[in-house]
Symmetry: C2
Subunit: 598 residues, 2 copies
């Protein structure tokens, strides 16, 4: 395994998406073959050492790669997919105006809004050859280690065999649609680093294609491991195309949203045919995982009637409405095996949605929620039989003392399939701070076994997140995920904390900033109090001032007693050392604090 370094260009200090994170350098770790190059974020410290961090930001932070959102990212996995020889290109489904929510032919382009169409290289979709199972789960079951698995192994610092075994057991998923070769493979499972998903998506109310692509690159720059495109307004198909072609991380969607657009928002007009058509459309585009609310059964709907906040999942409420309107069992549940066959042909991963998740702490862990979870466990087994990778979505709003039951029960009922939770929010009283109410729950549920955390932004319950909200949401959830990695004792997780703590103790301010999850904000906050450049190398903190710095005093203690881990001192040695040091202290003029120029 070798490390390659890319040079960092001069930064403009504004943390632009197109540049390396300030103070970090893009590097790559090579696997067993030259086309397995795993990106890392390397922080060169002023003491000459390096810290290597997991990197989700894609080619955008590599100054040696020129990216162009109009052309899309290079298809990293294309050769791997083609070389397996088990897939075929085909004409694909014909695009229709309703794919973009358009009812009429547009004035200039006939069927589509040509101004917005993605201009990159033409491509045909790919699908499994007749009878083939082309999912990472199928390969893992057969004992085949794919380049994707090896990429993930290098990325996580684990063996390819371990990665394969976790996928084969259904304890982890590697979402990688064969029509999204641009992704850098990543894995979601409780025995790996806890992952973070960021939601983007326009809505009927606001936002544009450009904003969504920018939000995606922005979210991955700060550490989002996957991105869900939850668009519900116009141009859904086209927005998704731009996002997919430019995304280095797996993209998830909720196809029922687009299906509903195709029937003008009338849930009762939904049908298996419309839904299936939408799923095929998205599979061909390259969506890596889809949320399917197939656990919202007709008989569960009345269980929500006495809830404080009913059904709060959009997908869940759409399906509940359909069930009510037709007084029939959910078409998602009834056609689930057929859906599995579609997903298997593209290696699209199921995210079985918790359509009946609680929307307030009062509704947490209730009968409706747990009934649906049992059904998700049943569907997970069916998906597995079809070789389709599967994860399970979880709540929601849950007070702290009811969180652990959620993971424990999900792991039991769903045969340890990866849990993918939204928060949970631990209280309902703080709209505008729900990244925090939920970050608390997310850290805890991550510690207890959740594999991926779906972020919540400060705008939750209030509006659509802007660029700043996306960053705040991602950073908050990276904190939760990393706190969980620490608590789980993930190998290597604490190295990052230790490097930053060392820098803090040794007054290496620049290293502290560069090692921070968000170097820009850490540096800016410090500069507000002590703006002068020399303060960043000064031997005191900006909180205490020169005379009071406790770190400074601690240094003199460390110098007195040494910090060589190899030797244990006996009480006598300590006593002797202390007497000697006390004498030294007096001889040095009782100077506990190093002299600092004012």
């Amino acid at each position: 395994m070798t490390m390659q370094d890319a040079h960092t260009p001069a930064e403009n200090g504004r943390g632009e998406t197109a540049h390396t994170v300030i103070g970090s350098h893009k590097g790559y770790r090579e696997g067993s073959r030259p086309d397995i190059r795993v990106p890392v974020r390397r922080v060169h410290l002023t003491n000459g050492t390096d810290v290597t961090l997991y990197d989700t930001s894609g080619p955008y932070t590599d100054p040696q790669i020129t990216t162009d959102v109009r052309r899309g990212l290079p298809p990293l996995r294309e050769n791997w997919i083609v070389q397996r020889g088990d897939t075929e290109e085909y004409a694909g489904r014909e695009l229709r105006p309703e794919d973009d929510g358009l009812k009429h032919t547009s004035p200039r382009g006939g069927l589509r809004n040509l101004d917005a169409v993605f201009p990159g290289r033409p491509r045909q979709p790919r699908r499994a050859g007749r009878g083939a199972s082309v999912t990472q789960l199928a390969y893992a079951k057969r004992g085949e280690t794919t380049p994707e698995m090896e990429f993930v192994a290098v990325r996580e610092g684990l063996s390819p065999q371990f990665v394969r075994d976790e996928i084969a057991a259904g304890r982890a998923v590697l979402p990688a649609n064969i029509n999204h070769p641009e992704t850098e493979p990543m894995i979601i499972g409780k025995n790996f680093l806890v992952k973070v998903n960021a939601n983007i998506g326009n809505s009927a109310v606001t936002s544009s294609i450009e904003e969504e692509v920018e939000k995606m690159t922005w979210a991955t720059r700060w550490g989002a491991d996957t991105v869900m495109d939850l668009s519900t307004g116009r141009n859904i198909h086209t927005t998704r195309e731009w996002v997919l072609r430019n995304s280095p991380v797996p993209i998830g969607t909720v196809p029922i949203y687009q299906a509903l657009e195709k029937v003008d928002g009338r849930a009762e007009e939904l049908s298996w045919d419309v839904y299936k058509d939408t799923v095929v459309e998205q599979c061909e585009q390259g969506v890596d995982y889809i949320t399917v609310h197939a656990g919202v059964l007709l008989r569960y709907v009345p269980l929500t009637a006495r809830r404080k906040t009913g059904i709060v999942s959009r997908g869940g409420s759409i399906m509940a409405a359909w069930c009510l309107a037709h007084h029939r069992e959910s078409f998602l549940y009834e056609h689930f095996s057929e859906l599995c066959e579609i997903l298997r042909a593209y290696d699209v991963t199921f995210s079985l949605g918790d359509g009946l998740r609680p929307g307030c702490v009062a509704d947490a862990n209730d009968e409706a929620q747990m009934a649906e979870l049992d059904t998700l466990g049943e569907l997970n087994r069916i998906a597995r039989e079809h070789d389709v990778q599967t994860m399970i979505e979880g709540p929601g709003h849950v007070p702290m003392h009811k969180i652990k039951e959620n993971v424990d029960r999900q792991q039991e009922v769903c045969d340890e399939a990866p849990f993918y939770t939204l928060g949970p929010l631990t209280t309902d009283i703080a709209p505008a701070y729900d990244h925090i109410t939920s970050g608390i729950g997310a850290a805890m549920i991550g510690w207890w076994g959740t594999a991926m955390l779906c972020y919540v932004t400060p705008k939750e319950h209030l509006g659509l997140p802007d660029r700043d909200d996306v960053k705040t949401g991602v950073i908050t959830y990276k904190i939760a995920a990393h706190a969980a990695d620490l608590a789980k004792g993930h190998p290597g997780a604490q190295e990052w904390d230790d490097a930053l703590s060392d820098a803090r103790f040794e007054f290496r301010w620049e290293d502290q900033f560069n090692l921070a999850l968000d170097p820009d904000t850490a540096r800016a906050f410090h500069d507000e109090t002590l703006p002068a450049e020399p303060a960043k190398t000064a031997h005191f903190c900006s909180m205490c001032g020169p005379k009071f710095c406790s770190m400074k005093i601690s240094h003199s203690i460390t110098e007195r007693f040494g910090s060589d881990d190899s030797a244990e001192l006996s009480p006598e040695e300590i006593e002797r050392g202390m007497l000697a040091k006390s004498k030294e202290f007096a001889e040095a003029g009782n100077r506990v604090y190093l002299p600092i120029a004012d």
Copy 2:
């Protein structure tokens, strides 16, 4: 018990300190006598009901009271203190220039900086009469229920006897210096609502008296239950005087900071006499609780030498330096009984400081920390014998899986004395977001039994908090405290969540905002997406837009099945109901969504 309402003045929308929180009204609950008037924040909802919330904001949010920071707050408790007849006024210690960190006589005033001296009514300090024990603990031990205890009982919705018994058992403290009659009594103990402390304080580097007073009123406006004045620069005495005379909440300090100023920052020149002089000075001013790092023993100091970040507590490192310089046991430890006698004479509460708390996750729960905790347990018993109320401070930086051990061990070693923790921070990698890294730990440790949480602001490790940071810190910690109250099942805690969730489900946007911990920000975030006034009453959320709102769909479900808790439906009734409702649905034109004008 009666409720009185004050009228709310017109608001300027900027959330000024001097006005009621927008959407809330000041009210009072009366106790058994007319001079026990417990403030509450009442939110009148648009559906005609009221929600009553705990209120820490003092007279500032009562439009019927004219406050003037130059005169100070009315002495609410003065009659209670005087009527007990066990205290006396006396001349008090003479003020000296070094009390304010001044070395020379100032040009205009001789001994003091007269421009800054607090201009309020002249007062003499008060102390216990000869041999009297005037602490709430002493009264509780004797079975006396004080007006302070009754005030707290009304405030917490519990019986005065329960309050008295918890104080008598040492499980709770009611910090209330007889020289700070301006405080509205509050209680800190695991069987009460979890409390939040906010730190303020100028330093050698920056900030002014006015800023500190403003930070105090600002912090209590958002919910700080106590405030610690950690000033270390000039004008320490005078700043504290302004803060005390204007503070409706207990004020805590760390006297060693001021003592160190008096010896020009040279720790080795500290002495029991300088320290004692400083404590008396602060007791006479009215400080309600003081942090004392008496557990940093000489023999513990070497235990920190091999730590990653040594000693990070300022007080702890000052005492460690003193012990090293003199090679003697800490004067705080050796004179602890004498210190108890001083505190007992004023009813000042101990906050036994954890001078050896870990400064990074690597150092958590180590030998140094636990050795000091044992000593704090010993000191707690001594303080109790002297009738001095005591709480115990806790860490610091602790990964999630090591948090519970901290509370459990503290509760065991310290005979259930209230635990008062800083965070803990659950990871070190996120400077600029340590309100979040620590809010996670704070919520958890609160759930497990911590009685008061010391806030951490976004500026932790980087600089001094400004007004916005103080607010962010307080709100984050109110979330943690309330999440803990919910998880502990504190009676009444969930009513707040339920009221907000009801408002959310019923699209009462104004009620949602007004019930929020921070109504201003919640309203502002909503308005960014949907600024028009009608949107606040519209039957859809700003995330989903009119067609998609899941709350809307849920409503139709609730309407179909009813939400009358008094009746359980049999499966047959449900089935029958569903058929009927399905028919209704079709007859109503398959309209799941209410029509909304575009």
